[in-house]
Symmetry: C2
Subunit: 185 residues, 2 copies
């Protein structure tokens, strides 16, 4: 391997580390970022064995990580005729990866919260107010009712925010700085 080749390889691996680091900052495990970076730089889908080889981690761990990535919508399994092993392909658009990472996270939070919300609201509804209660207590009840509604609106907003990102509308208002296509450099 020539000196230039060595240096390019080194730069490439630094780039992968940068992707890993970036994604880690955005709340997923560093390994997820590293695997994404490795497949991205490879330009071709990869198998669990190849990933295991490339990361130095166990195949089992790769299996776990890939599953997480699929849940996050930043990877998918692809089929190729004659190949028995799973081939994993990743999202190759930085912006889309960013969006998937956050919206799937937000979505999970919304879903989780909804059922709790209903439960709390039901609880509050069954609390009967009568004249024997002090002004302060009645006031507090009202505040809690109000907070619950407010919280519900908040989650509604997050839902609309998710849609705003996933539909791509965000790019109309925060446009990508176009630099031409990868293939006409």
């Amino acid at each position: 391997m020539t000196n230039v080749e060595k240096r390019l390889k080194e730069s490439k691996s630094q780039f992968v580390e940068k992707i890993a680091d970036n994604m880690h900052a955005f709340g997923v495990s560093e390994t997820i970022g590293r695997v994404l970076g490795i497949i991205y730089m490879n330009r071709e889908p990869m198998t669990l064995d190849q990933l295991s080889e490339a990361t130095g981690m166990s195949k089992m761990r790769m299996s776990q990580v890939v599953r997480e990535m699929i849940e996050l919508n930043i990877a998918k399994k692809v089929f190729r005729k004659g190949v028995r092993k799973d081939l994993i392909q990743v999202e190759d658009d930085y912006y889309q990866t960013f969006i998937s990472l956050f919206t799937s996270n937000w979505q999970r939070a919304v879903t989780k919260s909804r059922s709790f919300e209903r439960k709390l609201q039901k609880d509050l509804e069954t609390i009967e107010l009568d004249d024997s209660l002090s002004k302060e207590v009645i006031e507090e009840k009202k505040e809690l009712d109000w907070e619950t509604k407010e919280w519900s609106d908040y989650y509604d907003w997050i839902n609309r925010l998710i849609e705003f990102f996933e539909s791509g509308e965000i790019f109309e208002h925060v446009p990508i700085n176009e630099r031409g296509n990868k293939n006409d450099k």
Copy 2:
């Protein structure tokens, strides 16, 4: 304490747990969310001692947590005449909290990345291409140059996204579902 009062208190504490849980899902420690919830529900700024009492955690931990919250822009120390202890107040707007949480996180990632980006770009610039190199190697060098620029654009986009959120412009496109003011319920 009457039965109603007990149940209200229970609902209130559940609400705090919900805030904690929600914020945990958004990448900060559960304790940060709990502290925010506690101060929020208290409607008044609180001291480290009060927080320690309310959470059952050490005062030292409260000190650490509050500092993190201040860095995240979701809390601040307020001064009150005659009070020596620090009084901690929190952001009381759900939407603003959401925004601060994410933008400060994104901002940190951008800052961290910028210096690395420059370093990598410099490295790549010093790699000289000459005719002895294969077509593949030259192609690979070009791809890396392209990726570096692409990555730089991506961070630029995140910066503009941060501004889009922090300026409040986001609310023009994903409006809050108005329900009137807290004080006219």
